[in-house]
């Protein structure tokens, strides 16, 4: 066992973890933050995306021991301080960017990373950035629309085919 101390959504947390404990297992099974989902468990689908030191990573493909000292943000840390939805979350709701919702935590975390790097992305840039996040319900149109709207751009011209 290795002792890890990390900051999760602003709170310091210490746990003993096995070498082969994945970051997503620590978050979900030990800490109880089940908003982060495990879809494929093979680092393809992106449902488990969280931020580690401000960058999106797939928490099913990183060991908890490697997060020692890191600042981790999960979907539970994305809402505003008063509990209301963040701009990105509200845009997903407003533009029907989800159906079953399973991929949504990863989509929101990836979208937040994109908008931090590129505050006014083009539609093509949004689609390219979502390369590692798979949604099997929406066909992506409304996810792209939601992210464009969250960036403050006019989305009336984006067709929801």
């Amino acid at each position: 066992m290795t002792k890890v101390t990390l900051t999760i959504n602003g709170k310091s947390v210490s746990r003993d973890v096995e070498g082969n404990t994945l970051l997503v297992s620590l978050l979900r099974d030990d800490i109880g933050l089940t908003g982060t989902h495990v879809g494929c468990d093979t680092s393809q689908c992106g449902a488990c995306t969280v931020h580690v030191n401000g960058e999106s990573v797939k928490s099913c493909t990183m060991f908890a021991a490697e997060a020692d000292g890191a600042e981790v943000t999960t979907i539970e840390g994305m809402a505003n301080a008063d509990g209301s939805l963040s701009v990105i979350q509200a845009a997903f709701q407003e533009h029907h960017g989800l159906q079953c919702g399973f991929c949504t935590p990863g989509m929101v975390m990836t979208a937040a990373n994109l908008l931090k790097e590129n505050p006014k992305p083009s539609e093509h840039e949004v689609r390219a950035y979502l390369e590692g996040n798979i949604c099997r319900c929406t066909g992506y149109h409304n996810i792209v629309k939601a992210i464009m709207a969250a960036s403050g751009q006019d989305v009336s011209a984006i067709a929801a085919e």
Partner: protein
């Protein structure tokens, strides 16, 4: 996954020492190794994480040669190498997806030498030098076959040094599901000639297309390749494409890389 311990050394010397124990294996970004461990295709007793070794992270200019630390992430190379090495930065920015690029490292990719990985093509086309904890190895001597390199047991890639090309570009024909290279071609033009490295195509892993290099060294233009053809012998055949198809793609992607080189 089988059980193992993780160590997180903070210096190269400590990492090398930790790797001396039985069944110890280095862990870099883990974007290949962790899925491998999940499939129980590897059973190390100990993983030695290289991600906390600050002397192995970052880019620096060494008299016109770009030195990239072995634990530098793809995303960092994509964002920082473009000024002097636009082909290399473009290649790094198209590996995997954004989250993978935030973890995966150049040293891990080079050391693994996946036959469809992108970085081996960049290293070979630049005539890069692979720096390890104990020596320097020319890229021409480093890649020795599919998933095989000149690295010894417990030897780690601490940096890769890339000479600055006059023009360079990487073109990847992606396998549409995995987005790995069906065929990827890196073209780099230097004062003393052109180097063309091909990944994804050969059963022996990355290789140089010397015939193409000679033609392009005489005339750096896509047309210079018109009369050439690439043999399908030794090319990979799988459900995504035949050996003939891959051989054809080598020339097509080389032409595209030459046309796009800057």
């Amino acid at each position: 996954m089988y059980a193992f311990d993780i160590e997180r050394p903070t210096t190269i010397a400590d990492a090398v020492a930790a790797l001396k124990s039985d069944e110890a294996q280095p862990l870099s970004g883990g974007q290949t190794l962790i899925p491998t461990l999940k499939s129980r295709l590897a059973a190390p007793s100990k993983l030695v994480s290289l991600s906390s070794i600050s002397e192995m992270v970052g880019l620096s200019d060494e008299g016109g040669v770009l030195r990239i630390g072995g634990a530098t992430k793809h995303d960092t190379v994509a964002k920082e190498a473009g000024g002097s090495h636009p082909g290399l930065a473009g290649l790094a920015g198209k590996i995997g997806d954004p989250a993978v690029r935030h973890r995966g490292t150049i040293g891990g990719s080079i050391a693994n030498n996946d036959p469809a990985a992108c970085y081996p093509a960049a290293a070979l086309a630049h005539g890069a030098t692979i720096v390890t904890d104990r020596r320097e190895i020319a890229a021409d001597d480093f890649f020795t076959g599919m998933f095989d390199t000149a690295l010894e047991e417990g030897e780690i890639v601490t940096a890769v040094k890339f000479p600055r090309p006059e023009a360079s570009n990487y073109q990847k024909f992606e396998q549409p599901a995995s987005r790995f290279a069906m065929v990827g071609v890196f073209v780099a033009k230097f004062a003393d000639g052109v180097r063309v490295a091909v990944t994804g195509a050969s059963e022996d892993g990355v290789f140089r297309w010397t015939e193409g290099e000679e033609a392009l060294s005489a005339n750096f233009s896509p047309d210079a390749l018109d009369g050439l053809s690439v043999s399908a012998e030794g090319m990979i055949t799988d459900l995504h494409g035949s050996a003939d198809y891959r051989a054809h793609l080598v020339k097509v992607m080389t032409k595209r890389a030459v046309a796009a080189a800057r």
